[in-house]
Every structure is written in C-alpha cells, then in structure tokens.
C-alpha cells in the first residue's frame, strides 16, 4: 500500500466525517478537511512513524469569490523519508475566515501564515506573531482577494501631464 493511501486511510479513520473529500488530479492527492481538524491532521501526519510528513513545503490560500465557501487554505506536506507530497485543503466561509495555526507542528508555517493573513485576510488562531509581512503595516485591504482590483497607472500625455501628476501620492513641496 502506498504511503499516500495509508495517509488518507489514517486521516479517514481518526477524523471520520471531518474528512470532507479526497481528490486525485494528475496523480496528486488532495484531502479536504474541516477547519477544526487541520491541526490534528498535521500532528498525526507529522508524528506517524510510517508516514513521517516532516516537511511543510508550502502553505497558501485561494479565493473563490463570489462562491461559498469563499477561501481554501492549502497545505503541501512532504515526507523526506518517503519522498511523497500530500495536499491538504481547508475550505473557509467568508464570515468565518479563520483556522488554527499549524506553527506548533511546522515552525516554518509562521511566515507562510503571516503571508496568507497579509494577502488574503485569513486569521490564524494561536499564531505567535500575526502581522503583515509583505505589505506595509498601514496597508488597507488584502491584495490577493479576488474583489481587490489590480490597479493601474494612468498614462501621462503632454495635454494631461500635470493633471495626473497632481493626483499622484508622492510627497510634494
């Protein structure tokens, strides 16, 4: 039995109906979990002697606005001894965009969660230092949300150069 099968089975056995679905796309397995189960799932996959998912490769989120559940936090775990990836997804509704921090299991989740907080506005409960990381401290909004416009710079021509220049936010005398 492959490591992935065993991991999925272990998750289903212990977390029961908190495992929402299991999906395989292009040979890549992703397990959808209830948000209450993520910390337990990570602990289990990390500590299990046969599985040993000891490395959190990536942690990010996707915004499916305007669909609900709006967000999905995505974890890519890797097992260095077994050489396999396993994806975990936690769907989150927009009115309750918060999930437990997995920092206690994978230390490097600290910054990854800060990044998701910064760019998506998803809250991580139990995080030791939840501040913005990429955007400035006083930034308004969360740029990677789908309802956040991309923005653009207006093209300055000779006839409207000063007009546009006046609207620019840089310091003036």
């Amino acid at each position: 039995m492959s490591v992935i099968h065993r991991a999925v089975e272990t998750l289903q056995k212990t977390l029961k109906n908190k495992v929402l679905s299991v999906d395989t796309f292009r040979d890549q397995t992703t397990v959808d979990l209830d948000r209450a189960a993520i910390l337990d799932a990570c602990k289990m996959l990390h500590d299990d002697e046969a599985l040993q998912f000891d490395f959190l490769a990536a942690l990010t989120a996707v915004d499916y606005w305007p669909k609900e559940p709006r967000f999905a936090v995505v974890y890519q775990l890797y097992s260095i001894p077994n050489r396999v990836f396993l994806g975990l997804r936690v769907p989150l509704k927009s009115e309750a965009a918060e999930v437990d921090s997995v920092e206690s299991v994978y230390s490097n989740a600290n910054w990854h969660e800060r990044e998701v907080f910064d760019l998506f506005g998803i809250d991580f409960k139990g995080h030791s230092d939840l501040r913005r990381i990429l955007m400035p401290k006083d930034w308004e909004g969360h740029p990677l949300r789908k309802d956040y416009p991309l923005g653009y710079e207006e093209v300055q021509f000779s006839f409207n150069y000063d007009e546009i220049d006046d609207q620019k936010p840089y310091a003036k005398e």
Partner: protein, 414 residues
C-alpha cells in the same frame, strides 16, 4: 533625544515589538539596532532588527517585503503564456529555473508532453544557471567575508554562462526561453561548442577558487562553527537545497522526485555534517562540479528532433507554416489572442533551484488565465531561519551567515 523618539524603532513602537524581543530590551539593557534595508551585505533589501548585548546578538527580527511586486496577483490577469515573463523576475539569479518550474506546473495542469530534445536542453540550461547562481554566491560570500579578488574572478566565469543564454534567447538574464511544451526556439549555431568550452574551462578555475578560500585562515575562522543548525531543525524551519544538505539531510528533488529526465543522469548529492557557514560554502562548490558532470552527460546525449511539442492547441505553429496552412493560421491567431485554456484543477510542482525547493502551485478554472499561482520560494524559508542561526553570535557573523544562506530578496518577496 525626546522620549517620543526613543520609544520608536523605525516605524514600529516598542509596544508592538514586545513579543519579539526580550524584556531586557524594553528596559534599555540591550540595544535595538536597525540593519538594512540599504545595507549592501544584506543581499538586496532585507531589513533586520537586531537586539544586541554588546557585540552579541540576543535576537533578530527580519523584515521583508521591500521588493514585493505583486507577481502572483499580476499573473492572474495575464494568459498562461504571457504570465511566463513574470517568473523571470522573481529570483533574478535563477531565471531559467523559474521558467522551468512554472512550465512544468502548467504542463502538468494541461497534460502536455515535452519532446526529448527539449527535456535535455532544459537540463543543460538549468544546470548552467545553477553554476551561474552559485558563482554569484561564491563571489558575494567571499566579498562579505573580506576576500575581494574571488568576487571579480567569479563574475568573469558567470559572464561566459550569460553569453550562452544570450546566444539562445537574446537576453542575458530575463530569458523566458523555456516555454510551455518545450523551448522558445531551437539552439543557435555554436551553442554546443560554447557549452563544451565552458565545461572545459571551469573545473580548473573551481579548484583555484576553492583554494583561495578554503586555505585562507581568515576565511576559515570566520566560517567554521558559525551559524550552525542541526538537520532536524533545518527541516522544521523549511530550509531546503544546499542549506539543508549542509546539515546532513540528503534531500534533493532531482533525486527524490525527478523531473525533466533527471533520473537518467549520473550525479552525486553532496552532503555536509556541521550545517555551519563553511559547510554551506562547501556544498555549493561541490554542487558546481556535479552540475558540470550533468551538463557533460546531457551534451553527449542531446538528441536531434523537435525542440517543442507539436500539440498546436498549446504551442504555436512554426512561422513557415503560416503562409500555407489555414489550420496553422487559426491556431496562431487563437494562441496570441485568447490563449489556451486549462482544465479545472490544481497542481503543485517542485523543482530544485540553486537555493532549494522552488514550488509552483497552480490553479486552473477552465479559462485561459491562471486562477491562482503561488510560488513557494526557497529564500523565503531561508530568511525566516536567520534568527535561529545567528542567536548568540557576533554582529560581524551576521553578514557571513546571511550570505551563506544565499537569499535573493526578489525571490522571497515576489
């Protein structure tokens, strides 16, 4: 100094820092010092807030984001093909590696095959890129630890590699040469000779550079036993690549989860023991020699044949067909206006970049633009681990430790 100012460090108040520094800092017993973001040896625009007890580092709070350009957001607004050029600009010492990572993810998402010649070419180019990146590491690392001449030598050799890239793609750095389904165009005349010439030159020079540093008592005293981390901690903090292997964990994605045919090449993965600055330096030197081995093998087996897939749904037809074939014209028009669509689904693909695991998480929604792209970048993890590495060491060691991790801020901030 008035009290208002003395309670503020840059734009942050002491209250906000309370959970990040020790209590002694709040009483003024230890000093808070700002390093960067314009410090030349912080490799770009990295800012460190240091808590110092005399010369010793008690704690350190890295601050990144000065080079954040919203690449992930921008890519969502472009078609899959157009988004490719953004990847060059993340890790600016590993342009082809970024192209490769994105293309592999995209090829997996749309299920597109790559012909053999393109696979081998990709390996040659990415390994050359790895050598170029490690040469810059060696150069800046030597400079940071006080050896000026190595810097100049390494840039001389790197220029040979950049010449090869320019030959292929017309650009020294922002190549965008690796495209979904293969390469942008076939290799130019004289490519093989140029690569063979480089492969012949480098081993001798590598020996010289190795001797310049590893027999230099000043360098040794600045690197041995400095900034060490155990293998277990390195995994926990997400270090990958040479930084992880220096701590004795033999994890290399080219061996463990091979892509682009890496399973067909014979090469070793160098592994260190102490995980200190010296070991990280040694890893990269040895990796360059291994990369040369791979390049040589790849050159020997470089097959003739198409340099990109002939699946016209994803790959543009050759120019010569446009005048005679109606189908080719339609495909060309579709690809350069609307682009191709990817199915609904998500993939995660990781490659071994010179700095470690570079991962691309790509979500398709059935349309011609990526619904979401995320890059898991090795520098992000490396910078996060800096405080763990430098606690208890001297201020002068910080510079050695940072440069030994070889972080690229464009890579971390994206």
């Amino acid at each position: 100094m008035d009290t208002e100012n003395s309670k503020q460090v840059m734009d942050t108040t002491l209250e906000e820092l309370r959970h990040l520094v020790s209590d002694r800092a709040l009483e003024g017993e230890t000093m808070l010092l700002n390093m960067g973001p314009q410090h030349p040896s912080t490799h770009g625009v990295l800012r460190l807030l240091l808590e110092l007890d005399g010369e010793r580092v008690v704690n350190c709070v890295p601050d990144i984001g000065f080079l954040h350009t919203g690449i992930e957001k921008n890519m969502e607004a472009k078609t899959f093909t157009k988004a490719l050029v953004m990847t060059d600009r993340m890790d600016y010492l590993n342009n082809l590696g970024n192209n490769l990572c994105y293309c592999l993810a995209l090829e997996k998402l749309v299920d597109l095959d790559v012909p053999e010649r393109a696979q081998v070419m990709r390996v040659i180019l990415v390994e050359l890129q790895r050598i170029a990146s490690h040469l810059v590491f060696l150069a800046s690392h030597a400079l940071d630890t006080g050896a000026m001449s190595v810097f100049l030598y390494c840039f001389r050799e790197r220029e040979l590699i950049l010449d090869i890239f320019e030959m292929c793609s017309g650009q020294r750095m922002m190549t965008s040469y690796i495209r979904p389904g293969g390469l942008w165009r076939d290799t130019p005349e004289g490519f093989e000779d140029a690569v063979r010439n480089f492969v012949r030159i480098l081993p001798k020079r590598l020996k010289q550079y190795s001797d310049l540093l590893s027999k230099n008592p000043i360098y040794l005293s600045r690197s041995k036993g400095i900034g060490s981390i155990s293998g277990e901690d390195a995994v926990r903090w997400g270090l990958t690549g040479p930084n992880l292997r220096a701590s004795g964990v033999a994890f290399d994605l080219r061996k463990s989860n091979p892509y682009s045919g890496y399973e067909n090449y014979d090469f070793d993965v160098p592994v260190g023991t102490n995980g200190d600055v010296y070991d990280r330096f040694r890893m990269r030197l040895q990796e360059m020699a291994q990369s040369l081995r791979i390049v040589e093998q790849a050159l020997d087996r470089l097959p003739a044949g198409p340099f990109r897939s002939d699946n016209r749904k994803f790959v543009p037809p050759p120019r010569s067909e446009l005048g005679t074939s109606m189908e080719a014209l339609i495909h060309h028009f579709k690809l350069w206006t609307e682009g191709f669509s990817a199915p609904e689904g998500e993939v995660y693909v990781a490659v071994e970049s010179p700095r470690g695991e570079l991962g691309c998480y790509l979500v398709g929604d059935g349309g011609p633009k990526p619904y979401r792209v995320h890059f898991r970048t090795p520098s992000f993890a490396a910078i996060q681990a800096i405080p763990v590495l430098i606690r208890g060491f001297l201020v002068a060691d910080i510079v050695a430790v940072i440069s030994s991790l070889d972080p690229i801020l464009g890579d971390a901030d994206r």
